[in-house]
Symmetry: C3
Subunit: 365 residues, 3 copies
């Protein structure tokens, strides 16, 4: 009987990309200025690492019982995004951190949800799913986008008093969002777990690893992701210029797609198997986790790790996109039914945003 990790790698072609992990480190010491090459290599290395990380988290979660497991999934589910953002945070690249937060929210809400609806709808005429989870996540997301709206729209934020206000408000909002996220877990994992039943046990689809292997993978791969992320963050801006992409497009679209690749694979496979509960849960759950857990944690960690404190002020266009994405998710999941065209509509919304960001002249970010 083969080692479960090797079996997994043989089974999942995405993991063959693991070969790029050593290649990145080799590349960085041999050609530290080949930014475009390093960018491509780091993307190719992050995708399989994210997949491993996601499987390891789920395996630990499966072993530790439903409540602790749900908690673990809810805190470590976006570990890749968190580690990438931490690398950018330590480098003081707050614009990239914020673009990747906003981009992950919009990409998960529109691209992951829309593509799940479309892929599921191409195979199944009409699909039904449990609305309870979608409603909870959409509610949390709506709260988070409103919380991000406030510091981003205060007109006098450039004055000294304004800057202090934004900073204090950001810390208060960060704490409030984490509390809301925690209470949401209490609600869905403890007091009202029967409402979210089908979405929950759906996630135990794949065979879990033994606990020791899962924990070791979790630790080892996190370190690898952190190391590769540093190469990624260092090379991303110059690579973007080489590709003719605006920094807004890279932060919003490319980083979000790279960081979320593993979850997308699960969400799309769930949709094809007519288990839309699972897909909707992953897409909106991941978006709300980034908005209510990853982003606030980054604000708080910036006091320890960053060169200066980070606030929750976003570029107004990003706030508008997050608000529209949240509203779209809320309107679209309201009926609990889906067909292929719903997916098209949601994907088109994402395309509108991606198009605008791609064409945006460099100054206007």
């Amino acid at each position: 009987m083969t080692h479960p990790l090797l079996r997994e790698i043989r089974h999942n072609p995405l993991l063959w990309l693991l070969v790029f992990v050593p290649v990145v480190f080799a590349g960085e010491s041999l050609a530290p200025d080949a930014h475009t090459l390093l960018f491509v290599l780091s993307v190719l290395a992050i995708v399989p690492l994210a997949t491993l990380l996601s499987h390891a988290t789920e395996s630990v979660a499966a072993k530790t019982g439903d409540t602790a497991g749900g908690l673990l999934n809810a805190t470590l589910g976006n570990l890749t995004e968190l580690v990438i953002a931490l690398a950018a945070l330590r480098a003081g690249q707050y614009t990239l951190v914020k673009a990747s937060i906003a981009g992950a929210i919009v990409t998960n809400t529109l691209f992951m949800l829309g593509a799940s609806f479309l892929l599921g709808g191409l195979k199944h005429h009409v699909q039904e799913y449990n609305r309870a989870s979608a409603r909870l996540q959409a509610g949390l997301l709506f709260l988070a986008t409103v919380a991000l709206l406030i510091p981003s729209t205060v007109p006098e934020a450039n004055s000294a008093a304004g800057a202090g206000f934004i900073q204090t408000l950001s810390v208060c909002l960060a704490v409030l969002l984490i509390v809301a996220y925690g209470l949401g877990m209490l609600f869905s994992l403890k007091t009202h777990r029967e409402m979210f039943a089908s979405a929950e046990h759906g996630e135990a689809g794949e065979a879990p690893w033994p606990l020791g292997l899962a924990l070791a993978t979790l630790a080892g791969v996190t370190v690898l992701v952190a190391l590769v992320s540093e190469v990624f963050v260092e090379s991303v801006q110059e690579a973007a210029e080489a590709f003719g992409m605006t920094p807004a497009f890279v932060g919003f679209i490319v980083v979000a797609l790279v960081g979320g690749a593993a979850e997308m694979a699960s969400a799309f496979s769930g949709a094809r198997k007519d288990r839309l509960d699972l897909s909707v849960g992953i897409a909106l759950g991941s978006a709300s986790q980034i908005a209510l857990f990853v982003a606030p944690v980054l604000v708080l960690l910036s006091y320890v790790l960053g060169p200066t404190p980070m606030d929750l002020r976003f570029w107004p266009g990003a706030v508008v996109m997050m608000l529209i994405a949240t509203l779209t998710a809320s309107l679209v999941t309201n009926s609990g039914r889906s067909a292929w065209f719903v997916g098209v509509l949601v994907l088109m919304m994402y395309l509108v945003f991606a198009m605008a960001l791609y064409l945006l002249p460099p100054r206007v970010q």
Copy 2:
């Protein structure tokens, strides 16, 4: 058998605060410059007076039959807010008037509704309620916030032509909102009353007073509220500075909580008794009454009572908060079901706004 007014006072600890009514008047003639003290005393005096006013209105309403009673409740239900706003109007404090209108709408929609859901949800696992009333009130509120959005966002309102435009538009919108409110009453009390059945007869929970006592209380207490409101309005700004609160926070949060204390007591007690119809009806009904009746009446009365005409231009932040509050109420009441976490989400939204207003640097109101 004791007098019903005395029995009520003995029964309801809130009414023991009535002792502060004479204390306010004594304080004002003895120490007219002790603004902070007078502010605290006037708040303590308004709360029991508002409770009496609310009970008197309901007693008259109970005696005059369903339709006339509903009409009376709908016009006098926010008498306290109206009288406080009239005192501010006569003093020409239009910023306070507008902040208290916007604040009452947001506080009723988010705080009163959210706390009702939370208090009810802590006692009952899942609560169901009649959506018809919530839909009607949310629709009226949405109309009103859009109507307030228009004059508040015209860019050239500072020019002479712009100012005239805003003033004419405000009067037209005020008339339109009052007509919409009137037609809404015709709909819910007359042509389609069967849809709103359970919410209606719920309000006759407490034993009504005899008509004579109710009318006398209504008249007498209104005069007392008017007198105490003048002390409140005169002292509020300086007391706010003493407490380190911004004027925006005072108008939006403090005045709204003081003016709505009586309704909140009823809404919360309804939620605990699993009569959420009642709570939702009070919270959203009160908000829509302020938006479609109190605010327009104040605009029209400003031509008679105020030093200059008042318009319907609000601080853009206030309009955004009203819009978000209305949208939240509309999304949240859409399902007709509630659990404790729904209350948490709505309360958190209120906290986000309250936090921002509390921290706001003084210039940015």
Copy 3:
């Protein structure tokens, strides 16, 4: 047996206005500077021509089978609006073109829908209708308004780089909207037609004309509309000044009501006959057709026909009105039930916009 065209004219008093068609042409050659008179005459001539056009399109559609017919209705249903807009496009009056697009979307969504609900509700206590069609059209409209929001809110659009960005983005968005519209037809006419059943066959209410007559009418009347539209477009600005109306009001309200008169007649008659499926389908279908087909086609045609390319940048106020109209339609049709007051609410929203546009000082458009 009389000729079907003559029978139709005798039957439908609106068609008696056809007498104004020759009068317009006579007026234009005799008194080319009597702008106000020519404006009134051209309005009186367009209304019956639009009615004929609409009937001819439906007759051809009825003869060519359900799918091809639906396709024809979906492309030619707003032929009058398209021809008027083309006349304005050729004259380089892009402000009028855009105002009439935005106005047609808002007028169809709020006025046509609201008046249908009100007229139906005055006759029937509660009306139910198939939500599927309303949901689809509201989704398409929401996508379109978000697509129009992006180019309209980019801050630096006045710079050279910004202008090029807006132009490229407008063309990309135009193509994307046409694709979305086409996929929407594929969905509602082909893959999921059973969902939209009742709304579809409802439209075959009137006796269709023979194919030859219908095609001849379609061709001949289109030419007449084009000729009258030129008089209309030439005279509208000066007539507006004579009537004391702002250009924004004329483009938004007057042109939209004139261009949509024929569809309104059908929608209102459907509502009175308790066939709200039909009314909602016409109102929202027409709005989404203008947003996703007419407007993008005009952008693309402006490269061939106009003096300079037209972009999709709208006056921010117009974008806000379109967004609110779409959101209102989506909230209001969510329940699939209607009563008279729903119509009042939607009409009031329209009145708020019309009032603001009527009173707007000329500079602020």
